[in-house]
């Protein structure tokens, strides 16, 4: 085993270790970020003028693909009656969340913004009804419904009547409109 090979193995192990820690990091109080300011990412992807694209929210990285956040989001999805309109992602009163259509953007910060602000065709605003952390947790969970989150951080099913194919097996739907994947 050459030294370089061993070093790269070590590095790989270290990366694995870090991702492991990161993925299942438990945050009970949320990061001391500016949590009092509601997420307000614009769903727009056209920025006229000098194309001053706003920077992406730093909180996104904290919640995206985090197993604990997703699990809490899964609970809140039922508790906050998201499942009453969107069901297990198929939709009903609300739009489907397991498909590849995102009217207001499918990034975690866009979803968080949708939850906080509400949307004109019936999505109620949960501003003041949920804490910032809960909103992000919900958004992290909603991402899993269309297979956007890491498979090793999601839960295959909840202890309820069987519904969608397990999220551990959900294929990742492309984010459309395609530009919402960028930024």
């Amino acid at each position: 085993m050459s030294l370089r090979f061993r070093n790269s193995l070590l590095a790989l192990g270290l990366v694995a270790a870090l991702t492991g820690c990161d993925r299942e990091q438990r945050q009970t109080r949320g990061k001391p970020l500016a949590e009092t300011v509601p997420a307000s990412t614009s769903p727009d992807t056209v920025f006229p003028g000098n194309a001053n694209v706003p920077p992406s929210d730093p909180r996104a990285a904290v919640y995206e693909g985090n197993a604990t956040a997703i699990s809490e989001g899964q609970r809140l999805y039922n508790w906050m009656n998201c499942s009453g309109c969107h069901f297990h992602g198929g939709g009903g009163m609300g739009v489907a969340l397991i498909d590849d259509k995102w009217r207001y953007g499918g990034r975690i910060d866009q979803i968080a913004a949708t939850i906080v602000e509400g949307r004109p065709n019936g999505m109620p605003s949960f501003r003041g009804r949920l804490t910032e952390q809960q909103v992000w947790q919900l958004a992290a969970y909603v991402r899993t419904l269309s297979g956007q989150a890491r498979k090793d951080a999601v839960s295959a099913r909840a202890d309820e009547v069987s519904n969608t194919p397990p999220q551990t097996q959900t294929k990742r739907e492309p984010l459309t409109p395609a530009d919402s994947a960028e930024q």
């Binding site: 492991g20 299942e24 990091q25 295959a156 099913r157 909840a158 202890d159 397990p166 551990t168 097996q169």
Partner: protein
Amino acid sequence: MTPAERAKQPPADVARDGPKLTGAKLDKRLAATWSNPPGFLGWLSSVDHKDIGRRYIVTALAFLALAGTLAIVMRLQLSKPDNDLVGAARYNEIFTMHGTTMMFLFAVPVMQGMQIYLTPLMLGTRANAFPRLNAFSYWTYLAGGCLLWVAFLLNIGPDIGWFAYPPLSGPQYGVGKRTDIWAQMVTFTEVAALAAAVSLTATILKQRAPGMSLGRMPIFIWATLVTSLMVIFSMPSVALASGMLLSDRLVGTHFYNPAEQGDALLWQHLFWFFGHPEVYIIFLPATGFVSEIVATFSRRSIVHYPIVVMALVATGILAFGLWVHHMFATGLPRIGYSFYTAASMAVSIPTGLQIFCWIATLWEGRPRFQVPLLYVIGFIFTFVIGGLTGVIIAAVPLDLQLHDTYFIVAHFHYVLIGGAVFPLLGAITYWFPKATGRLMSEALGKTSFWMIFLGFQLAFFPMHIAGINGMPRRVYTYPAGMGLELPNLLSSLGSAVVAVAVLLFVLNLVMSARGGRAAPANPWGGASLEWATSSPPPKYNFLHIPIVNSLAPLWDAGEKMAVVHGLRIDDRELLLTTVVSAKADVREPSAEPSLWPFIATIALTVMFVCSIFSPWALAIGIVPVAIALLAWFWPKSPEPEREPVIS
């Protein structure tokens, strides 16, 4: 004529041992045949039961040290009320790791390690059956243990308790991959334990020295046979359960989902159908140690050998009828509980008989207080308390109060430390000279014994009271003012004493292994066959296969033991005997060292670990496993070169 020769005239053109080929000349030839290939790869490919047994024991002791460290952390956390040394989540991981490591990675493997090391020596054979399977067993166990601990160190260790009840361990509440790692670790250890058990069972039934009929088998071998059979019958249950749990978690099946007509209690039934026998899988080998040590240090055979054997067998059978007493609080039908109460109480009869026989043996013999016997005495004093509290919690009305409290914690530590670890420490001291050729320090040994014994009582007796005072298990903290401060403080102090004592024991091990007094072949004057060969035993165990005529061959036959001639020396060959009366039956080649078991384990590990993340890993990962197995089982090249017979 020896029985072997009577059984079958050997072909005359192969090199064999015999009266004329003996001593150093034979030793050289046999050593060449039975030794490992050189180098690191040779080390990896070893199929020698002594290597594997030693690796098992050392690894298991390492896990004991790790899990013991966690125990100290827990005791520190609980030493005072409302402590905040470790948080709730971390504490849950710690006690899960402690229980899981102790049960799956220490207790069962260390017993199997002792069995793997000792069985062929006590039977008078050169290797165990299926030596490559044995090697595979160890590597698989090691892989499972590493998986669990690497995960813990990466902060993705399990946090669901060692019995992992769903739905807490299910896909919804068992967050992330923590539970999957736990469940897959169970699969690893199940595979390892089953492989070892199969090998041990076959060794015992077919490879005993000629003349060692079932009625002349050392008690420890009986205990090994019973526990191996128990492993074979109980482990599939938990492998099935954990497989179903993994499938619930990975592909969303509904085995444990009550909302889809699954049942959370299904897990408990399956788990305890394994879990309760597992306690005896740990405990029965320990009684085997005790019987051997008692006989040697009383300098007489065990009193009422048949009764001890029957007790072992009876315990092994009864152990499968008790599992519901772990589930008295689940609201199953009350009348059914009475059956399990009766069965749980009945299991104390065979144990009581064993204790009687040990005391009677001491009574009838001339006990000599050396460290192994001290551990046996400590064992009886401690274990009987655990057994009696076991009778208490077998009663439904009492169990409903005491279940899942610190009373239970006290009970099973009395049973498992008092009943299994004390004999194990005695057994390590007892067989240490055989394995290393050096004696352990008696003074250090006695000091550590007394510290462990007294420290243990201090650590665990107050837990009974904590439990009655209303302290549930698995709590990371408790409020002040409930009468829990003193018991917990005492327990924490006691655990510190035990920790120091265990360090002393390990120090003794290390120092003695380096510079202990050299040990003769039979330092304690034991009667069983392992003391007939040198200390440490040669690679091939015995120069000639001994012939056994009594229960205590070394005492009865002394120096003049009859031996078998005629086994090949240029190739690994064993003498198989008949199952009941151990008449020489056939010669059987024994497998050469091979890297393939190790490679098969690597392939299996890749498959198992990947299957935590994707079900496809099972379909794809099975291919390398199959290739490794094919290579492993590939028939040997034709007969090696013939050479003239020396006879």
